[in-house]
Symmetry: C2
Subunit: 311 residues, 2 copies
Amino acid sequence: MGEKRYAIGIDLGGTNLRIALVSREGELIRKIKEPTPETLLESVRERTGTLISDEVAGIGLGIAGLIGRAERRVLISPNLHAVEKIDLVGGLEEKFGLPVVLENDANAAAAGEQWVGAGRGLSSFVLLTLGTGIGGGIVHGGELLGIAAEIGHMSIVGDGEKCGCGNYGCLELYASAKAILARASAALESGRESVLRSYCGGNFYKLTTEDIHRAAFDGDGLARELLKNAGRHLGIGIANIVNLMSPEAVILTGGLTGAWDLYVQEAIKEASRRALRELFDDVRIVPSTLKDDAGIVGAAGLVFRSVGIKA
Amino acid sequence: MGEKRYAIGIDLGGTNLRIALVSREGELIRKIKEPTPETLLESVRERTGTLISDEVAGIGLGIAGLIGRAERRVLISPNLHAVEKIDLVGGLEEKFGLPVVLENDANAAAAGEQWVGAGRGLSSFVLLTLGTGIGGGIVHGGELLGIAAEIGHMSIVGDGEKCGCGNYGCLELYASAKAILARASAALESGRESVLRSYCGGNFYKLTTEDIHRAAFDGDGLARELLKNAGRHLGIGIANIVNLMSPEAVILTGGLTGAWDLYVQEAIKEASRRALRELFDDVRIVPSTLKDDAGIVGAAGLVFRSVGIKA
């Protein structure tokens, strides 16, 4: 038996699968990243196998979705339905004979930022993952709260659009990448002028958030408007979070933070208009330092914690 | 020195001042209740003086407003501005030479329900105070979270009415007693038929929530509509809380819970349509058992805890 110096962190989202070997110091030793595969369990097992050694303490699994803590399963995952049907925890335990820890991916990312990222030394913060969907993780009193923290499914427009989750007017419908891209296609289809038109060869559904960022950077009116409008709605959500949780910081991660100057700045402006001043004055809104690696690092960190290795 | 068998709990809200002597077992020994006086510090000191003995361990102060924990002061109190200007903690410590614990009134009520009320034995719950305004207190992992929990100032209608707190579309603007009464006056002024007209001798601003309850009970269309509409909005807020905090229970207290059959039932119906099903299935929505005494009992309980007396 080798010394348990490593843990494997897995971050399974709607778009990408990330698997990494992480040291007890939170250092990324080796990382695998690929588009989320169709054959989830087989692919995850195979990739994990390439990182296994007797120095691995266990496997941490961060998955986009609602975690059934008692069942050790993903109950629902609107952006990754396949994962609702399979027993990933059992499948990994059986194959590798190692402890497996399951967490929501945004909660895992919050654990990562707390361990070796932008949340280090903070007693309380809220992490928001701003990508295809919007996820959240909440740290209070130095502890990751094992709660749903489904911030993307907080209604901010009571009688707004119907969301796939069953609610209406969810934050995610106005401020996520999915929302921005849907509004972009709709605007282009209705004939709106924009350089975006030339980016996608007429197939509006091929547009990516990178296209939107690039167009906005080039001064495109539609792209700028889409990012600012999404940012304004994100600001409503952030103000709600500040009024509820009065955290020391809000840490932002995910692809959309690439548009910091438009999207995030607009969100900060809107939140500052709305949140209780005395609370907002005490909160810092900062980018994640681990970025896309927060989930794998955090998932590995949760393994060290659960097996009692001081990480 | 007597044995420290008692603590004094004070609940200072926009409408009423409550002061009580509470035993280590959470029993209410003596209670004073009066309309919130103009001369706050003097009145609170005088009433507290009538309950003081050398068996009192300290004084717990629950106040409607945003608590500055470092400053030990109320930073803002939209429904009780007078309290922002005075040093109640210092004024009580100086007068009685006893430890004084300061907490938001809804947080104090949550502590009370957790100690000897509907929250006993629960690891996590969210308490909502449904009165003039709407307040919240959150218990997680068996601990009252020392956070703002300003659930009444969560925006549920992003571009809705402007709130006194600076935000727009706050839950409190749609689901509180203040909101119901404002809508009642507006409807009556615009000529709407209702028995409420006869209850207030033509002065619509004299109406109370008890009037609304009574009229609704008598089948009055306007009163029923007002309560159901407020309840529907409360349901949006409850769904948000469930999706964020995934608590074991939501405990409701305050004057409006008197209209359980209309207002609260409508809220439960709306929340059940909106919250993530897997979370909603696990949450119980129940009335407070301590009712209006939750704040004084909880404030006293926080005293026992802070001075290290096992209560």
